[in-house]
Symmetry: C2
Subunit: 383 residues, 2 copies
């Protein structure tokens, strides 16, 4: 269902020849209106890819008529020439669709520091336009895969309206978004300001709290497009909840398919003085390589959790920290707690609870373990 679950959208996914493998690598998503409202959030990395710089400009107008997405090359760190490539991509899409180039967003993913083969990409856009279909969402989701083993889609149904989406991302997942490209669509009738508020609220607690490997991408892009085709303006709460649900579903799919991972780690920080403290502590735990290795080895090594907490500026007393792994409080009051042999580590999901014993705020961060497969996937070839 993907980005075509909501009414008023067509999509396609084709092989333009950007990937040597011949796999699909070019996706097109078109908003057929009547409304063309859109919002976007982008990587916090200060080194931004050309398509991110372009799309940020487009989004300032609050209108997006189409999104061109390619895998097979990130078009990042490619200088003025790379930016011209993105501009030419939008111009070409505008021509074949009869749109305004200034309302066409572009997103790219793949190797940094390589120019895109523009002849193939521009020719591919002709084909992608021809294949646009109200059932094209799955093909679009497949065409944006890089090292993803599966394509990722999600849908939430409202009362007479729908939110759908697709995502790609498997490595370089980190706060401030991951190497993720996400397009969400809705036929709800919501204006750009409403979409922006909703998208920021949703991503803050979902994609921004996914930290697979601590590395922040140059290309992360999450777009939310509204066609208004349902004719329904949903209550703000219901709409935000639907968007959050789709984001959460896609974020979990990203963690579940992270490169080389054997564990999905749910880190819940409770008892924090502030939500910021909870997030800071959660991220520090999520990024501790020694802990990530231990969890891969099914070793409930809580000392490495405390060691990670100790590097933060959050409010806590080291002698009051409590840590549970899969429900067993292996650390109480900063010291040895229940028997670590009681912890069952056989399953893919590992649940860590860190209690700062300072207040009532909390946050959940999702991470992955560190494995020899991760090393292999990221050392055996350029990506």
């Amino acid at each position: 269902m993907s980005v075509t679950a909501a009414k008023g959208f067509t999509a396609s996914g084709i092989a333009a020849g950007l990937k040597d493998s011949g796999s699909p690598d070019l996706a097109l998503v078109v908003n057929q209106g009547p409304r063309l409202a859109a919002a976007g959030v982008f990587t916090a990395n200060r080194v931004k890819a050309a398509p991110v710089l372009w799309s940020q400009q487009v989004l300032k107008g609050g209108r997006v008529s189409a999104v061109v997405l390619n895998s097979g090359g990130a078009n990042a760190c490619t200088g003025p020439g790379g930016f011209q490539d993105t501009h030419a991509t939008a111009e070409k899409a505008a021509r074949v669709l009869g749109h305004n180039a200034g309302e066409i967003a572009v997103a790219s993913t793949g190797l940094i520091g390589v120019r895109l083969p523009m002849d193939k990409l521009l020719t591919g856009l002709d084909k992608a336009a021809v294949e646009l279909s109200a059932h094209g969402g799955e093909k679009a989701a497949i065409a944006i895969k890089t090292t993803d083993t599966v394509h990722k889609t999600a849908v939430a149904q409202g009362d007479g309206w729908t939110v759908g989406g697709m995502a790609k991302g498997a490595g370089m997942l980190a706060p401030g978004l991951a190497t993720m490209l996400v397009v969400l669509t809705t036929d709800a009738d919501v204006d750009a300001a409403g979409l922006d508020e909703t998208l920021r609220a949703a991503t803050r607690q979902t994609f921004d709290r996914v930290d697979s490997d601590g590395c922040m991408s140059t290309n992360d892009t999450v777009l939310l497009l509204a066609s208004g085709a349902s004719g329904v303006t949903p209550p703000q709460d219901a709409f935000t909840e639907a968007v959050r649900t789709v984001c959460d579903d896609l974020a979990r799919q990203l963690i579940g398919d992270a490169e080389g991972a054997s564990k999905d780690i749910r880190i819940e920080v409770v008892g924090a003085a502030t939500e910021d403290d909870a997030v800071e502590v959660g991220r520090s735990i999520a990024r501790n390589n020694l802990l990530k290795c231990a969890l891969h080895g099914e070793d409930p090594n809580w000392g490495r959790v405390l060691s990670a907490i100790g590097t933060t500026s959050a409010a806590f007393d080291p002698d009051k920290l409590n840590v549970a792994i899969n429900g067993v409080w292996v650390c109480r009051n900063g010291s040895i707690g229940d028997d670590r042999d009681l912890v069952d580590m056989r399953y893919r999901e590992v649940r860590i609870t860190a209690d700062l014993a300072e207040g009532s705020e909390s946050a959940v961060i999702w991470a992955n373990d560190l494995t020899a497969d991760y090393v292999h996937e990221n050392s055996a070839y350029s990506s």
Copy 2:
């Protein structure tokens, strides 16, 4: 030569039975004066092991007559009982040596969250005292090893005075010190304030800039002890340079023996507006798992260097960044530079130069690559 290279020191290293393997695990270093001046720097981790809390108190007096060091257990996150164990260790050492317990520093390394077998440790101290020798430095250096494959010592000679030292550390190496225990000794006649100033200046540019795996220990301790036995008070510059040389030598040995590493990565940030900017950027590069994997695979993936720089708050313009790997400027002006195929990656040392093109400040950070062996060493058993 180690900690007994300088006159006025004896040392020993024995097997107290703390390690199941029966390997040496208890070291004793004794300052025989006439001066007992000392300075220390400790981990910046807010979760500090009991021996760190103890030794910080001892160092406030500026006098250390002996140091007890054990491997086989970190005595971290062990609560009030763990602190009592450290206290008992100092008391026992004071008894067998005829010293004041308040002038005996203690350092421990090994698994977090496990109490030490105190009967073995206290009995071991009797044996360690008997074996003290002016030639015992090597044995002491061997006894503090954990996953180190070799013991680490260094010596610098001044004009009539000497600085020597030993170090242990192989994993959990990070800024704010590593899981390192370091004891430096000198027969120079320098007071505690002079030692403190010298040690902070030396560690700031050496141990503090070693970042093997981004993980900060609960136990890091670097001590500098002066006996005054040479009767020489060296010029401040010469003394600082000698201490810095020994620290730099030991820091390089730590990186060269880091768990599972196949590459030593020298990251030099130049053209920074401030030294703090240079250090922040260097650490961000040092901690990027994707880059560490790429370098393991001998892939000069400069895009991952830019991606890491982009996550910092340092002053730079993305379009002016330059990056060299092993002398080849693969990135110029934030874009594609010289041919990456020119980069020779066959050797253990990899040199990355990141030019921020903003000023004239610089810093060097040392790191390691990320390998399947690192994952194995840190997942196959608790450490």
